[in-house]
């Protein structure tokens, strides 16, 4: 199902672009903010770790990192046309999608979920439920977001704009004010998973574990199927007529 050559080319492509520098910045900011708050606030009672890691970590750092990575693993090749060299081989299109998705999810885990864990460990002062919950929730988010963003990058050449609209308008604005929107919010799936372990009301999780897992699994599966189908009918433009 996964193709090592596709994975290797993808990794070389991702780290060969300037965009790669951007991956490291958001997690760095998260850790620095956590360190600053840790130095200025007593952790007990104030509830800031839940707010920072939930509101900032899950609403901003995780989706934006996934957006940058998820839309570049395949979208950049589609944009510049080099995808033709990959598609003019007998490699299954499902294998291309699964490999690109896996690489993107693992990179997002490294650049967003691990920093969330580090920040949670700093904030809570140890490897307790809070840190583990935040980490597991971010791992789940890395998987679901990337399925979604890989699909968006196959569907449109304006993947980053579409992804940003989804994150900022749907998740941040609608998700906070319209409870129904949470059912289609990857942020809420991630927070639902995180909160089931962390049990921290400051995370503002709007969905329970069961709903979060079921909806997350459905969104991931549907996104990967749609992406595969769309890549199977990838067409080149002909002459300018």
């Amino acid at each position: 199902m996964l193709n090592r050559t596709v994975a290797a080319i993808t990794l070389r492509a991702v780290f060969g672009r300037r965009r790669a520098i951007v991956f490291g910045l958001p997690p760095l900011v998260l850790i620095l903010v956590t360190l600053a708050l840790k130095a200025s606030h007593p952790p007990s009672g104030s509830g800031w770790p839940g707010h920072v890691l939930g509101d900032f970590g899950f609403s901003v750092i995780l989706p934006l990192t996934a957006l940058i990575i998820g839309t570049s693993v395949l979208g950049a090749e589609i944009d510049d046309g080099s995808i033709v060299h990959l598609l003019a081989t007998p490699v299954r299109r499902s294998s291309v999608i699964m490999t690109k998705f896996t690489v993107a999810a693992l990179l997002t885990m490294a650049f967003a979920a691990v920093p969330e864990l580090i920040a949670a460990l700093i904030a809570s002062g140890g490897a307790g439920r809070f840190a583990i919950g935040v980490f597991v929730g971010a791992l789940a988010g890395s998987v679901i977001y990337n399925a979604l963003f890989v699909m968006v990058s196959v569907l449109t050449t304006r993947a980053i704009a579409v992804g940003l609209l989804y994150v900022l308008v749907w998740e941040v604005v609608l998700g906070n004010f319209v409870s129904g929107a949470r059912l289609l919010s990857v942020e809420q799936y991630s927070l639902g998973v995180a909160n089931s372990i962390a049990r921290d009301s400051n995370l503002n999780a709007g969905l329970n574990l069961r709903t979060a897992v079921i909806m997350g699994a459905i969104v991931t599966a549907v996104a990967l199927v749609v992406a595969t189908r769309r890549l199977s009918v990838f067409a080149l433009k002909g002459d300018a007529v």
């Binding site: 050559t5 080319i9 046309g81 598609l87 007998p90 007529v241």
Partner: protein, 304 residues
């Protein structure tokens, strides 16, 4: 059978725009040129054959199987796209080896070495593709398309951006590959390139198949058409009266822009005009072919 490309009544349209209109052709082993002016539909035809576009109507098979939504077709087909986008962060050798592995070849290293050898790129194989010239990129793309030893090779404008020496090298290579019994289909808008290479041509104009068959026969049709020149001289009327006596000239007309001459024999007219003018003491100021664009050549082909 596995080397035959077959199009039956293939059309492709985008909304109301018809890019390819009811084309039927069969392409077998050897080098075939897909010729036509820019925007005529050559790339669309190549993309259709390569499985990167579905026909809107008609059937299209490569080796007896449809190429659209059939990645297995690439086991026997190699494609050299026109667009100059390759994985420029890889070295030439890495790119070819990756392609060999994507084809799941038994010995990717040996296949890489062979393909790079064919296009004569061994000296530059360890450099990043981003440092390559246009011609080198073109050759590394050909190596990638050849790494799995395909029976059918499709090339979209393979000579674009190449210098004359690289063109000759590529022509020799394609002639050799065609001679080995592969089916080579290349598109070009430059008549002379195809002339040197292809025994058979398919001429596409405005999405239609305008001519098909032996190149020499079609070339004769092209060269026997009257050529129109605009000549500006010190005495247009005197030159006109002199030229009408030439067997290479079928008509002259005095226009506001100069003397318009219709020549039936391009070569003979080009050789004669200077002598005719000199003998009569006429100074030639300008001699312009009026219909040298490929479009006019092809338009003539459609009419004939």
């Amino acid at each position: 059978m596995s080397r035959t490309i077959d199009l039956q009544n293939v059309s492709r349209w985008y909304g109301n725009v018809v890019a390819v209109n009811d084309i039927t052709m069969t392409i077998g082993p050897g080098v075939t040129g897909l010729l036509g002016p820019n925007g005529a539909g050559k790339s669309t035809v190549l993309h259709l054959i390569a499985g990167f576009l579905p026909p809107s109507r008609g059937t299209l098979t490569v080796g007896g199987k449809p190429s659209w939504r059939n990645p297995d077709v690439y086991k026997t087909v190699g494609l050299v796209p026109e667009r100059d986008s390759v994985y420029s962060f890889l070295t030439g050798a890495e790119f070819i080896a990756a392609t060999a592995r994507l084809h799941k070849l038994a010995d990717p290293e040996a296949a890489t070495e062979r393909a790079i050898g064919i296009v004569d790129m061994a000296a530059a194989q360890d450099r990043k593709i981003s440092t390559y010239s246009k011609g080198m990129r073109q050759r590394i793309k050909v190596a990638a398309a050849l790494v799995h030893d395909p029976e059918v090779l499709l090339l979209d404008e393979p000579f674009n951006g190449m210098d004359p020496r690289q063109r000759l090298h590529m022509m020799d290579l394609l002639t050799r590959l065609g001679g080995e019994g592969r089916t080579i289909l290349l598109s070009s808008h430059i008549l002379e390139e195809v002339e040197r290479l292809a025994g058979t041509i398919q001429v596409i104009v405005s999405g239609r198949l305008a001519a098909s068959g032996d190149f020499r026969a079609i070339r004769r049709l092209m060269t026997s058409r009257p050529h129109v020149f605009l000549v500006r001289t010190s005495d247009d009327r005197l030159l006109g009266s002199a030229l009408i006596g030439s067997s290479a000239v079928t008509g002259v007309e005095l226009t506001g822009r100069g003397l318009q001459v219709r020549a039936s024999d391009y070569g003979a007219f080009s050789r004669e005009i200077a002598g005719v003018a000199r003998d009569r003491g006429i100074r030639l100021r300008e001699l312009l072919p009026e219909d040298e664009s490929l479009e006019s050549v092809f338009a003539y082909l459609i009419e004939s």
